[in-house]
Every structure is written in C-alpha cells, then in structure tokens.
Amino acid sequence: MKDRFSLTLIDMQKIQTADELRNCNELTLRYGLSLTEQQIHNIVEKRFEALRDTGRMEFDRGILKKLIYEFCDSPYISQDNYEDTILELQDSFYYFKNESMELISDDELISFMKQHFDTVCQGSLEYLSGTSLEELCRNTRYGYRVDDKDVYGRPF
C-alpha cells in the first residue's frame, strides 16, 4: 500500500508540472517556442530522473517554470533545440545546485546561467556547464558571492 501511495504522490506532482509547462506555452509562443504534449511528458519524466540522479528532493512545482521564463527570450534558443536545451539546463541546474553546497539560491543560479548562456557561452551548454558553472561553484565554495568580480574586474 505504501508503494502504491508513493506512486500516487509522484503522479500528482507530474500532473501539476505538466499543467505548468502547458501554461508556459502561452508566454513562450511570443518567442516562437512551444512544447508538444510528448515533449512535456519527456521533460517531466526527465525531471524526476535528474532529481534521482543528483540525490535531491523537490517540493511544490519545481524550477521548470522559472527556467523556461528566464530562457525563453534567449537568442540562442529556437523551436528546434528548445526541448533539448531545457532538458540539459534542468540537469545542469540540479547538478550545480549540489556542487554549490546549497550556497546559491534557485533564482541566483538560474539568472547566472542565463546571463552566461547569452554572453560568454554564446548558447553553448557544454561551455556553460564545463567552465562558467564550475567556476561559479568553486568560487562560491571559496566564499565569494555570485555577483563578485575576479582580480581583473570581470564578473565570475
């Protein structure tokens, strides 16, 4: 009974997240981006996989809505790569949330990701996760703030 009930809770979360993603389409359509039902299903499934892989638990609606709202106006995202980018960003988000040892808030991390994705990374997710986010987390562990600058006056 316990397992059956646990499944029900997860299903409820999945339904809520899917609803939210559907609602996001209203905004993202202005930028020529939308998710099909199949894509929504994929993203929701991957959310639970990402959480399991990173050993995290999420309550409420999660961060997908925030991610989509932040990234939908990026010049580097088109309808062709929209789903893949969101999936990749979601994985990176949870991974680096762990790496930063809970020292960075959701909003700070998402805003940092967007700022770097659109500038130094030029839309490259590999660059974002391989350099910018690594540096951010390392600096955070050293006690710098997210908006600190390095010795050359450049933002992290």
Binding site: R56, M57, F59, D60, E102, D106, D107
Partner: protein, 448 residues
C-alpha cells in the same frame, strides 16, 4: 504476538518518539481506527508538511534539497508528532491522529519540545550545581557540551538531533531516546548519580577511583558505580558506608556471604542493602531509590561470574595505595659571570698545565650556563673522566637533567657535544647502586 510486544514496548519509558508516530499509525490501522483512506490522507499531509518545512528551512531560496536534508527534516517532523502522541497515550493518540490534522499535531509537538527544553535548562543548572569536584575530563567536558547543546539545538527543523558530544558514561546508558528527550533523561540520571556521590567525601572518592582505574582522570569511566558498589558492600557487612574502603578482609567476607546465599537471596540482599543506603543517606525520591536498587541488583551478573573465580578485587575496588614519593631536589642556579670574567677564566684554564688546577678553578663557576661554556672550551677528551669523578651524585644528576632537557626539545640532528658523550659514558660505567641513585634523583630535579 509481535504487535503485543510492540505495545508493551511503547508503554515502556524509553520508546523513541521518532518511531512512536509510525507505531501509532500501525496500531491504529491494525485496530481499525484508521482506514486505508485515512492512511492515504495522512501520507499526503505528511508530504505537504515536509514541503512546508523544506520551504521554511531554505527560506524560499530553493525548491529542492539534498535527500539527506529532506530525511532529517522528515525525522524531525515525525519526532515532534511522536512526542505529542506519546504524551497522549496510545489510544488517545490514535484518535487524535484520525481527528486532527498533521500540521496541528506537529505544532502541538513543537510546543511539547519547547516545554522540554525549558525543563532541560533547569536540569542542567541543577546538574552543574550538584557536579562533583573530581577531576575527570569527560565528566566536565560533557557538562560543558550540554550547555552548548541548548545554544545549538534547532528544534524547529532538527528536533530529533543531539548537536553535542556526550562523552561521560552513565551507570545506566539511555537506549532509544533522541533529541531533547535524551538530554533530559541523561541529565536526570546524572543528577541522581551526583546527589548520591555528594554524600561522600570527594577525596575518598578520588582515592577509590584511583584504585578502580589508575588513569581515572582521562578514561571514560563512570564515577558513581564504584562508589555505589563499595557502599553496598559495606552496607552488606554492616560497616561504615561513608569510608568507602573495602579492604582484603572485607572482600573475603563478602565472597563468603555470596557463596552462602542462593542467587535469589543474594539479589534480595543486594536490593535490601540499596534500600539501607537510601535510608542512611535519607534518599526519599522514588526515581533515585529505583536507580540505586537497579544498580545494586545489576551487580548480580558480575557476582555470579566472580564467585567462581573467588576474587572480588575488581568488583569492590580498594583504595589506591600511595606510591613512594620521589624525593624532590631543588637546584638553585647561581648568578652567571660577566662575559669578561668568564672569558678570563676560560683563558686562564686553557693555559693551565695541570688538570687538578683546572678542577679547582671550575669551582669558581656558580651557574650551569657558565659551567657548560667551560666544559665545552677548557677540557679535552681524556680529562672528562677525572673531572666528573670529582663531582658528587647531585652535580652529575643536575648535568644529566640539563642534558635530557636540552635533547628532548632540540632537533634530532642536533649532535652531542664532547662533554655530553663523556658524561653519558661516565654514568654508564658507574656501579649499579650509584647509577640507580642518580636516576632516582633525575626524576626529582627541579630548576629554580
């Protein structure tokens, strides 16, 4: 059958509050108080409550937390609900579980925890007031750590946690409890032990502890147990319990008594002697009386084993016998010579042809620092033996002490000087008696 045992365990004193919540749920389902639908509702509420607590914990900064943090937050929720249900009793707890929301139960539980924290503070202050004036590191460290506990304990998120180090071992360890319940129970037991021991002279307790465990200051030992054991033994022999000293003859008498009694009689007599202690010491408090009786009856298992060996030395420890005191020598270093006078003396000694003259001149030196300078500069390899033979044992001991002090603090590669090698050889070649005398003195030399 298994369930019945669990109920008995729940009604017992030490049931962990964390498990209490799941136990009441299980009990309610088995007894038909909660339906499957209610169960679903409880789990859903628990999930929402965990979500709210996580939100509060991250202060809205993060929608997700590591699974370990979530587990801790959940354990704290279960602990608070469990502590409230435990206070209500199992049947009423089950009804409350059905009729009240989990957030209400959780809020009630947090209030219970807050009340227990207040109680804990009072217990700590009493424990400190009754603390024994005996130098045991773990005992005093633990009291200090419990003070930190009240500063670090975050009952809103981690009520089940014990954020301090409890090193001192009680006579009866506390099973199953956690959080503030553990601390309060620990302090209550510690106060009982403290109050009992305070009836005895602390210097006698110290002697007893030295006999019980030579390194009683640093070892993680319980100080109450040997005191109670010896007092019980003396009460059995109708002797003065306040002396705490069980000697060899007493141990033989006790052994004979226990050999004479059957196991039931022995147990009964141990409990009676614990009661006798309570009446002699005017201990009225029921929990203290029970604690003493339980400790005294706990001796039975050891007595059963030791009766066979015929040796009660480890059960009723004797007082520590004072070791022969090492004589203390105070060495008063004389004033150092001025640099000029010392240089003149060294030059004069170096130009001196006869060793006997040099030895006579060295008597002008009154400080060890100057003597070392002279030894380094004025004597050759073959002259040292004769020089040292002119020194008495005390002078040799002072020089040897200087040498050991120097090399115990110096780097390993620091070479031995000529005179140092020679004095070590000289002492090695002395007869055994003189060597022993010098070694004996070395332990007691103090520079002033």
């Amino acid at each position: 059958m298994e369930d019945n045992n669990k109920i008995i365990s729940y009604n017992g004193i030490a049931k962990n509050s964390r498990e209490c919540f799941s136990f009441v749920v299980e009990y309610s389902v088995l007894n038909g108080i909660l339906s499957a639908e209610d169960m679903g509702n409880i789990q859903s509420q628990l999930w929402q409550l965990l979500g709210r607590q996580t939100g509060r914990f991250t202060m809205g900064d993060s929608s997700s937390v590591p699974i370990e943090t979530a587990q801790e937050l959940l354990a704290s929720i279960c602990y608070c609900i469990g502590i409230y249900l435990k206070e209500s009793g199992i049947d009423e707890g089950a009804i409350k579980l059905k009729s009240e929301s989990l957030s209400d139960l959780f809020a009630h539980g947090q209030r219970v925890v807050a009340t227990k924290i207040d109680l804990g503070r009072k217990l700590l202050s009493e424990a400190k007031k009754t603390a024994l004036d005996i130098d045991n590191i773990s005992y005093h460290d633990t009291l200090r750590e419990i003070e930190y506990f009240f500063k670090k304990y975050d009952y809103r998120f981690f009520a089940h946690d014990i954020p301090c180090m409890i090193d001192y071992q009680l006579c009866h360890s506390i099973p199953e409890l956690s959080g503030i319940e553990y601390i309060n129970e620990y302090l209550s037991r510690l106060i009982i032990e403290n109050k009992f021991c305070r009836h005895f002279n602390s210097s006698l307790i110290t002697s007893l502890l030295q006999g019980y465990c030579h390194d009683y200051r640093e070892q993680l030992i319980n100080m109450f147990e040997p005191v109670l054991t010896n007092a019980t033994g003396l009460a059995l022999l109708d002797k003065n319990i306040f002396l705490l000293d069980v000697n060899d003859a007493d141990r033989v008498d006790l052994l004979n008594l226990f050999r004479l009694w059957t196991e039931e009689e022995a147990l009964e007599n141990l409990i009676t002697s614990a009661e006798k202690l309570c009446s002699i010491l005017s201990i009225e408090d029921i929990s203290s009386r029970e604690y003493l009786k339980s400790t005294a009856s706990g001796l039975m298992s050891r007595i059963r084993m030791l009766k066979e060996t015929g040796n009660f030395d480890n059960l009723f420890p004797g007082f520590h016998e004072q070791e022969e005191k090492v004589p203390v020598f105070h060495y008063y270093d004389g004033g150092t010579m001025s640099d000029k006078s010392l240089r003149n003396l060294i030059e004069e000694m170096r130009s001196c042809r006869y060793l006997s003259d040099k030895i006579a001149m060295i008597k002008q030196v009154h400080s060890i620092k100057d003597l070392i300078e002279v030894l380094n500069a004025c004597f050759s390899y073959d002259e040292f033996t004769e020089l040292f033979s002119s020194f008495n044992d005390t002078e040799i001991a002072v020089l040897m002490h200087f040498l050991f002090e120097k090399h115990s603090t110096a780097a390993d590669w620091n070479p031995y000087l000529e005179w140092e090698v020679r004095i070590i050889d000289y002492v090695k070649n002395l007869d055994a008696k003189r060597q022993e005398d010098i070694t004996h003195m070395l332990d007691g030399v103090f520079y002033l």
